[in-house]
């Protein structure tokens, strides 16, 4: 579904990503984790073809980037918790625009179903400016899942959601993943959520993959009881170590 090898990205003198290899298989739910500045968002942007890597390559839904970008992105959905909804559009107009961009027929039915999946059918006629930040995030997730993509890429999707709504989002994503076999690649700072949603976690630190495996395996490889402790462990290292480290990847699985 997604393969990336040797991704490197530097902004001016700062190395954001220092050689990331990543693979997500069909139907797999993977979390890309790490402290702020670990290189998660830059990695996601390179995987989506929005940022050109300095080194390395990406194969997205069987298409090599950047040549196959258009064909690949037709089968990928993206949402980020920090992106607003276009202000002058009603929710249904915003979703209709993206349905058209993905070439969907019968978009009215698909939009209604997608809104209901996340329990926000009542927001269809609301303007972007009338929504709370949590509601805007939900609409963004609906947008990302509208065309039933083979891969969903979500950057901090539940950052502004209350626990009840975040739970509804997780249920919606799990349902979609199970029904359609969609793979999921998600970044989050909520380790409890990751443990509920994802079967595999990849930890980044200083632009490198430092752990890759199931949540339990990765926690054990660091000698901790949960991902929260692994996160704190790495955040402490991030503060203490130079920018580009040489740590070897801790494999949760042989």
């Amino acid at each position: 579904m997604l393969r990336a090898r040797g991704l490197v990205k530097a902004y001016r003198q700062e190395t954001a990503v220092a050689g990331v290899d990543l693979e997500v298989n069909a139907g797999e739910r993977v979390a890309l984790l790490g402290p702020n500045g670990a290189g998660k968002t830059t990695t996601l942007f390179m995987l989506l073809g929005v940022v050109t890597p300095d080194e390395g390559w990406v194969e997205l839904v069987g298409e090599r980037l950047p040549e196959g970008r258009k064909r690949a992105l037709a089968q990928v959905g993206f949402a980020a918790g920090y992106l607003p909804l276009a202000e002058k559009l009603r929710v249904r107009e915003f979703l209709a625009m993206y349905a058209d961009l993905y070439g969907m027929p019968q978009r009215t039915t698909a939009i209604a179903a997608a809104l209901e999946r996340f329990g926000i059918g009542q927001l269809a006629s609301a303007l972007g400016t009338e929504l709370s930040s949590g509601q805007r995030t939900l609409v963004g997730i609906v947008k990302a899942t509208l065309h039933r993509p083979r891969l969903m890429v979500l950057d901090e999707p539940t950052a502004s959601l209350d626990p009840e709504v975040a739970s509804r989002v997780r249920q919606g994503l799990l349902e979609l993943s199970r029904q359609n076999g969609s793979a999921l690649l998600v970044t989050s700072h909520d380790m409890a959520e990751v443990e509920r949603l994802c079967e595999r976690v990849v930890f980044l630190s200083k632009g490198r993959v430092v752990a890759d495996g199931s949540p339990a395996e990765v926690s054990a490889s660091f000698g901790h009881r949960g991902l929260e402790d692994v996160f704190l462990h790495l955040a402490g290292e991030e503060d203490a170590r130079p920018r580009v480290g040489t740590r070897s990847v801790r494999r949760g699985r042989p």
């Binding site: 940022v51 050109t52 258009k70 961009l101 065309h147 359609n180």
Partner: protein, 278 residues
Amino acid sequence: MTVLSMPGHGRAGEAARAWQRVRAIARRHAYVLARSPHRLFDVTLWPLVDVLLFGSLGVFVSHHRGSGSIAFAYLLSGIVLWHVVYQSQIALSTGLLEETWSRNMLNLMVTPMSELEYALGVMLFGMVKLFVGVGVAAATAAAFYAFDVTTLGFDILPVAAVLLLVGWVIALFVIGIVLRFGSGAEALAWGILFMVMPLSGVFYPTRALPAFLQPLAVALPTTHAFAAGRALLDHQGLQWGQLAIAGLSTLALLVVAVAFVSAMLGLFRKRGYVTRYT
């Protein structure tokens, strides 16, 4: 896995999807215009104010100079034709700016839409703005000054077509600069026209310019297009020579503008400038 039935496969299917994307972008900008009264000024109030300004100036000149009536016609036809450049340029460049203002660029960049489809969508919407804006200018000239643009006949259409293309070319340069330097460069979307306007002989032959500026004026395609427009007022018929110079130099500039935008888009992706709008 559930597979959605997309419109047919092959070239016809892809062409249908491309057209669907183009219309989606045009519709998106139409919603924004309809719900932003201040943006309606571009196609309603400004054309009206411009025609009032230059029409009244023309009336004043015609009362005090022997050549007043032709100056009056130059001023009014000039401002109506100028709105072809203005509307096409503003529609395309502010189309991209709208995506930066609403932080929608990242969302658009992760869809299967190509840059060309996006530009065509904004241009399609821009054509609607163009017809409304130029229509308001022409109607104001007719209503307030009894100046009927249609008396210039169909010969005005190729002149307007070249000016339309010039507007898009200028917009592409503005977009390239905004991609490179960010929203700080957005003042160019409006400001650049104020540099082009006096040099293009919109209201007067370029020999009226200071001598040192005249070679620069001659190099601009707009100069030749407006000269062709004035020739129509002077009953000299369509000046194909002037129009050919204007058209060919505009096409040459279009090639340069497309190459410039492509290079800036490459830089935008390479340097990760999308993060400016997230």
